[in-house]
C-alpha cells in the first residue's frame, strides 16, 4: 500500500502571492538550513562579480586594514549606482548570457551538482528597492542555469522591524552518467526486465548482452525546495520567527538487490545492482520566540520535520534461476525481489534556553529540550512471490511434510503473515544542559558545563508469522533458502528447532552525561592560555559495553605578542575506556534465546570473535594538536598556515586499531592595489586507518569464539592499512588594466589512496589458491586516484557606464581511478552479478561563457 503523498503545490502559486500569505521562514546561524543560495556559476551569488572599487577603502590611508586576527579585509565593492523614484530608490544588476559546454560534458563528476548545457542563461538578477525614510526594503535575487539548476529568492521587510523571505531552489545531484540498466521502469517502483529477458530463467550471457546493448543513461536526483519565512521584532526585546520549507527529491539512484551469493556457487545466486526510485518530500517547520533583555535572555523554539515517501517499497525482477546445493533437488522459481523504501516519519522538537547574566561578567545558561522521532508506516509483506519458495527435494515442488524446505507463498506474501501491520517505532529524546561562565578577575575566566542527553527507544518488533507459527524472516527474497536447505531464515520449535536466525529488532537506547570544567588566563595583554577538563559517560543499551567513559584534557594558547604574528595552538589528550566488553550482547535478538531452541550438533555457532573491539565501543587514546598562524610580513600581504594532527590508537586485537590524520596548509594573499589581488594556497593531508580481521576456518559452524582457537585461528588473521594522501594547490589573480578587469583562478587536487594488506597465512584469504606458499604474505590494491585540475580565465570589459561584458572560460580535467570499478568498462555482468553503474570516469570538459552585465 502506498503511503499518502503530502505535497504542497507551492510552485503553482506566484511568488508574490506566496509572500502575501506568508508564514515566515527564516534560517539564521542559530537554527535551520538554507542559509545560502547560489550556484556553481557564481558561488558568491554576485559578490565576486562586483569587483573592487578602484578608489580603495579610505582616502585617509593606503591599503586596507586587517581583521584583529590579521587577515586583510578585501577591497570593498564600488557603491551601487542608485536611481531614485521619489521616496524609493533602487539599484541592482542583471546578468544574462550564453554558456557553451564542450568536451566530456556528460561526465558525472563534471555535472555533479550543476546542470549546464549550451544555452542562454540568467546568470544573476539582483534587484534591491529601498525607502531610506523608514528603512523598508525589498530584494529579488535569481539565477537560472537550467530547469534543474536555478534559484529564486525574494525578501522584503523593514530594517530592525521584520523580514519576510521566500525562495525556490532546484539543484541536481548526478550519481552516475554511464549507467546501463537491464530493467525498464527506472524512476518508478516496479522494475521489469527489458529486452525479452525471462525473469528467473535467463542465462548470464543473455543478461550480459542486454546490459551491453542498453543505452548509457544518467541517474540523478533533483532536489526542489520551496521555503517561506519571517523574522520579526515584537518589541525591542522580543523577536519571533517561523519558517516552513518543502523539499522534493525526484530521480533514481543505483542501489542493490540480493538473491544469495554468487561467489561460492558458479551460475547461482544473484547480486543485482537495481535502480531505486527517489520520490519523496520533506517538510520542515520551525518557529520560535526569543527574548534578549538586560539581565535575562530566553529562546523558545519548535522544530518539526515530516518526511513522506511516495513508495513504501519497490520491486524488481531477477533474471537468474537458482539451483540448490543438494543434488537431485530443485529450487522454487523465484522471479521477484523487493526493497523497502524509507518509511514516512515525523519529528518534533521543543527547546527552551534561559540565560541569566551574573555578577563577575558571567552567565548561566540552562537548556531543556524534548523531541520525538516516530514512524508508523505500513509494513510490507515478508516476500513477494507466487506459488512456493524454498527447495523441492527429489525434484518435486509439492508442499508437504516430505518437503520440509519448501514453503507456501500464500502464507508469506501478505501482511497477514506479520506480527504487526504497521511499524509503530518511536524514539523520545531528552536534553538538559547547563553552562556557567564567570570572570572573577579581569584576566581570568572560568567555565563549566553539564549535559544530559537521553534517547529512549520505544518499541521493538518480533518477527513472527501468526499464519505458520514461525519466527524469523525470509532471507534474501527467499533465495537463500532456495539454495541451501534450512537457511530460509525461519525458526520453528516444532519443525526447525535448531535454526539460528534473527527473530527480534534491536532497540537502541542511549544516554550520555557530559561534564566539563575549564579556565582561561590572560597573561599580560598578548597571551591567553587555557585548560579544559572534560568527562563524558556514554551508556548505550544492547551494545557490547554498558558504559564508556571519555576523559580529556585540552590545553590552548593564543599569542599575539609579535606585531606580525597571531598564533593559536591547542593540544588535546583524550582517553576512552569502559566496562567489560561483551563480544555478543545480541543473543536475545536470535532464535537461540527462544524456548524450544535446540542447539545444533556441535553447538550454537559463535556470533563473532571474542577479541573483536568495535571501534565505537573500544578503549582508545587520542592525541590531537592544532596550530594556526597568521603572519603579516608586509602591510599588503598575509600568510596563514595551519598544522593539524589527530592520532587515535584503539585497544583492539581485531577491529580498528589506529586512525591517524595529519595535515598542513599554507595560504598567501597579496593586495598591492585596490584593484589587484592575488593569492596562492598549498595544502597536504594524510590519513592512515589500520584494522585487523580474522577468517573463520570451520565453515560457519565454529563454536569457539577465541582468537587463536580452532575456528578463528591465528593463521587466518589479516591486517589492512588504508593510506590516503591529498595534495591541494591553487591560485587566484584579479587585476584591472585601465577599465578592463582580468581574473583567473587555478585549482588542483590530487588524492591518492593505497590499501595495503598483510595476512598470517593463505587461510585468511577469500581465495587461498591465489597466493603461493603457506606462510604470511602481503600486497596492495591498485591506487585509488582522484586528480582534478581546473582553470578559469575571465575578462570583464565595460561597454558603457552601466553595461559590461564578461567572457570566461572554465576548463577542467579530472582523472579518477577507483579499483571497485576495474573491469566495468568491459562488461557490467559477471556470472550472476549485475551492475548498473560503471563507476566514475575521467574527463576533460570545458565551459565557455559570455555574460552581459547591466546595472539596473
Amino acid at each position: 500500500m502506498h503511503a499518502q503523498r503530502l505535497s504542497i503545490p507551492f510552485r503553482t502559486i506566484p511568488l508574490a502571492l506566496a509572500i502575501a500569505a506568508a508564514l515566515p521562514v527564516h534560517a539564521d546561524s542559530g537554527a535551520g538550513i538554507d542559509t545560502w543560495r547560489a550556484n556553481k556559476l557564481d558561488p558568491s551569488a554576485g559578490a565576486a562579480s562586483e569587483g573592487c572599487d578602484p578608489n580603495g577603502t579610505t582616502w585617509l590611508a593606503p591599503g586596507t586594514r586587517r581583521s584583529p586576527t590579521g587577515n586583510l579585509y578585501h577591497c570593498p565593492p564600488p557603491a551601487p549606482q542608485v536611481t531614485a523614484h521619489g521616496d524609493w530608490q533602487h539599484y541592482g544588476v542583471l546578468q544574462l548570457g550564453y554558456l557553451g559546454t564542450g568536451g566530456d560534458d556528460r561526465n558525472a563528476l563534471w555535472n555533479r551538482y550543476v546542470h549546464w548545457d549550451s544555452e542562454l542563461i540568467l546568470g544573476l538578477l539582483d534587484l534591491s528597492v529601498e525607502r531610506p525614510e523608514d528603512g523598508t526594503y525589498a530584494n529579488v535575487r535569481a539565477s537560472r542555469i537550467s530547469d534543474d539548476d536555478q534559484y529564486y529568492q525574494a525578501v522584503f521587510g523593514r530594517a530592525g522591524s521584520y523580514k519576510v523571505q521566500a525562495f525556490l531552489r532546484d539543484m541536481p545531484n548526478v550519481l552516475s552518467a554511464d549507467a546501463k540498466s537491464i530493467w525498464n521502469g527506472v524512476g518508478g517502483n516496479v522494475l521489469t526486465l527489458s529486452n525479452g529477458l525471462k525473469p528467473g530463467g535467463s542465462t548470464s550471457a543473455d543478461v550480459a548482452a542486454v546490459s551491453s546493448a542498453a543505452p548509457e543513461r544518467m541517474l540523478s536526483v533533483k532536489r526542489s525546495k520551496q521555503g517561506l519565512g519571517f523574522n520579526m521584532y515584537l518589541t525591542p526585546e522580543w523577536t519571533a520567527y517561523a519558517n516552513l520549507s518543502d523539499e522534493q527529491r525526484k530521480g533514481a539512484r543505483p542501489y542493490g538487490g540480493p538473491f544469495f551469493f554468487n561467489f561460492p556457487f558458479p551460475a547461482n545466486g544473484g547480486a543485482l545492482e537495481t535502480v531505486k526510485p527517489i520520490d519523496d518530500s520533506t517538510i520542515n517547520v520551525g518557529g520560535g520566540l526569543r527574548y534578549a533583555g538586560t539581565a535575562w535572555r530566553m529562546d523558545l523554539s519548535y522544530t518539526g520535520s515530516f518526511y513522506r515517501d511516495r513508495y513504501t517499497r519497490y520491486t524488481y525482477e531477477t533474471p537468474f534461476a537458482l539451483y540448490p546445493v543438494v543434488p537431485g533437488a530443485v529450487s522454487a522459481p523465484l522471479t521477484t525481489g523487493q526493497m523497502a523504501m524509507e518509511p514516512d516519519n515525523n519529528y518534533h522538537n521543543l527547546k527552551a534556553t534561559f540565560t541569566r547574566k551574573l555578577p563577575m561578567n558571567g552567565e548561566l545558561s540552562l537548556t531543556a529540550s524534548a523531541g520525538r522521532m516516530s514512524q508508523n508506516d505500513t509494513l510490507i509483506q515478508p516476500i513477494d512471490c507466487q506459488g512456493v519458495f524454498g527447495i523441492g527435494l527429489g525434484g518435486s515442488l509439492q508442499l508437504g511434510p516430505q518437503n520440509p524446505f519448501l514453503y507456501d507463498c500464500s502464507k508469506w506474501n501478505t501482511t497477514a503473515a506479520l506480527s504487526r501491520r504497521t511499524a509503530d517505532m518511536r524514539i523520545d529524546t531528552t536534553l538538559l544542559d547547563a553552562r556557567l561562565v564567570l570572570q572573577p578577575a579581569s584576566d581570568v575566566t572560568v567555565r563549566g558545563g553539564l549535559r544530559f542527553n537521553r534517547d529512549d527507544y520505544r518499541n521493538g518488533y518480533l518477527m513472527y508469522n501468526p499464519l505458520t507459527g514461525d519466527y524469523g524472516y525470509v532471507s534474501e527474497n527467499g533465495s537463500q533458502g532456495s539454495v541451501v536447505p534450512g537457511e530460509i531464515g525461519l525458526f520453528n520449535p516444532l519443525t526447525s528447532p535448531s535454526a539460528l536466525t534473527r527473530i527480534r529488532s534491536l532497540p537502541l537506547d542511549l544516554q550520555t552525561i557530559d561534564a566539563d570544567l575549564g579556565a582561561d588566563w590572560k597573561i599580560g595583554d598578548r597571551n591567553t592560555i587555557g585548560a579544559t577538563l572534560a568527562f563524558n559517560r556514554y551508556e548505550p543499551t544492547n551494545r557490547e559495553r554498558r558504559q564508556i567513559d571519555d576523559k580529556s584534557l585540552k590545553l590552548t594558547w593564543v599569542n599575539r605578542s609579535l606585531d606580525w604574528l597571531t598564533l593559536r595552538a591547542n593540544y588535546t589528550y583524550k582517553t576512552s575506556d569502559g566496562d567489560r566488553y561483551e563480544y555478543d550482547p545480541y543473543d536475545f535478538t536470535y532464535s537461540s534465546s527462544l524456548p524450544g531452541y535446540v542447539p545444533p550438533q556441535g553447538g550454537t555457532p559463535s556470533h563473532t570473535v571474542e577479541a573483536l573491539r568495535k571501534y565505537d565501543m573500544s578503549s582508545r587514546d587520542e592525541h590531537k594538536i592544532d596550530l594556526m598562524a597568521t603572519i603579516m610580513p608586509r602591510d599588503d600581504m598575509t600568510i596563514s598556515g595551519s598544522l593539524r594532527g589527530d592520532w587515535n590508537s584503539y585497544d583492539a586485537k581485531i577491529g580498528r586499531q589506529a586512525y591517524n590524520t595529519t595535515g598542513a596548509t599554507l595560504q598567501w594573499e597579496w593586495q598591492p592595489a585596490p584593484t589587484t589581488t592575488m593569492s596562492v594556497y598549498a595544502a597536504w593531508d594524510h590519513s592512515q586507518l589500520r584494522l585487523s580481521n580474522v577468517q573463520d576456518q570451520q565453515n560457519g559452524a565454529g563454536t569457539d569464539p577465541r582468537l587463536g582457537g580452532p575456528n578463528y585461528a591465528f593463521d587466518g588473521q589479516w591486517w589492512l592499512r588504508d593510506k590516503q594522501r591529498n595534495l591541494y594547490g591553487g591560485a587566484t589573480f584579479d587585476h584591472r588594466i585601465g577599465r578592463v578587469r582580468l581574473d583567473a583562478s587555478w585549482n588542483y587536487t590530487y588524492s591518492r589512496g593505497i590499501d595495503a594488506y598483510a595476512y598470517a597465512g593463505p587461510t585468511a584469504l577469500a581465495y587461498p589458491a591465489t597466493v603461493p606458499g603457506a606462510g604470511p604474505g602481503s600486497g596492495e590494491f591498485p591506487a585509488m586516484v582522484y586528480r582534478i585540475q581546473s582553470l578559469t580565465v575571465g575578462v570583464t570589459v565595460p561597454i558603457t557606464e552601466r553595461v559590461s561584458m564578461r567572457f570566461f572560460d572554465y576548463y577542467e580535467r579530472g582523472h579518477v581511478s577507483d579499483w571497485h570499478y576495474l573491469g566495468f568498462d568491459q562488461t557490467l555482468v559477471q556470472d550472476h552479478r549485475v551492475y548498473t553503474d560503471a563507476g566514475p570516469q575521467s574527463y576533460r570538459a570545458n565551459l565557455v561563457g559570455m555574460l552581459v552585465n547591466v546595472q539596473l
Partner: protein, 352 residues
Amino acid sequence: MHPRSRLLRAAALLGFWIAALPGVHAQQTREDLSRDLPASGELTNADVQSTGRSLLAAPGFAKAKVATNPAFPDATPVGEKTCIACHQLEADHFTHTLHALGLHAAAKADPSIPVCETCHGAGSQHAQAPLTRGSIIAYTKNGGTPIEVQTKTCLTCHEGGPRDHWLGSIHQRNDLSCSDCHNPMAKFSVEGSLARDSINETCAQCHKDVRLQFNRRSHMPLPEGQMSCVDCHNPHGSLTSPLLKTNTVNETCYQCHAEKRGPFLFEHAPVRENCLNCHTPHGSNQHALLVAPVPFLCQQCHVNQRHPNDMHTPQSLATGSNPDERIMGRACNTCHANIHGSNAPSGSKFHE
C-alpha cells in the same frame, strides 16, 4: 518560441532599456545624500513633520545608543556628519548596507539614535587626535580597542538568538572578534555582513583545510554554492563541541537527509548512534563520503563467520581471477543495500 527563451529575451530587453536610458530618472549623488544626513543634535520639528508621517524607530534599533569606550570615557559624541566629513569614501561604501539603511531610518525617526557612534563610540577624542589608538572603538588589528570591548559593543544590539552561547564558545575563547568574520562597513557579501564574498570564504580564512576537504571526490555541494558551513555549524557558539546547530550530530544530518531518520524496524547500530561512524562530513576520497573503502569499512566491525571476514585481494576484482561481489562495485551494499536501516519485516540484515 520556447517559453524559457521568451522569458530570457524579455529580460534582456528590459535590461537594455534600463541601461540605455540613464537620464530619465534622477541619480542621487553622494553630495545629495550627505545633505540628507542629520548632523548631531535635534532635528527640528519642521524636519520631522516634513516627512509627512510620524515614524517610530524600528524596535531593533531601540538599543542603539552611543557605545561605551572604556579607554576614553570622557569623549563626547560628534554626530555622523562630522565623521563623514573626513571619512567620505567609507560612508560611500557603508550607505547601502543594511546597518546604514536601518540606522539612518532610525536616526530620522529618533534623533538621539547615533549612526557611526552606535558602534564606534563617542568621537570627540578621535576627531581631535585620530592617530591615538583606541580613541575610537576600532575593530581592526592595531586599532587599539581590546577584543572584549569590540564584541561587547556588537552584542549590545545583537545579543541572544544565534549568539546566545557566545560567551565560553570556542571562537570567543580563542580571542576572535566579531570583525574577524564580519565587516558591516561595505557590502562584501550579499548576505550576512561578512568580511568575505560568502560564508564559505569567510570560514576558509582560518579553516582552509576543511574547505579543501570539500574538493575531494565525494562532497556535499558546498563548493558549488548550494550550501554553506552555517547550514550545520553555528560559529557563534552552540551547545555541542563541534558547534552544531541541533542537539546531536544525527539530528544535524537529518535536516537534509530526513529519510535516514526512521526509526527503522531494523536498525544498524552505528548508524543510529552517529552518522560519523562511517561518514566523514567534509569530503572523502571514497564514494558517498565514507571513511574507508568498502568492504574494509564494514570489516572494521564485522568478523562474523562465513562471508564477512574474508580478506580480499585484487584477485577478487572484476579483472582478477575470482571476481567477487563482496568487493566489486558497491561491494557489501550491493546486497545489504538498506544499510542505514530497513523497514522491511524481512530486512533484519538490510537485504530488503
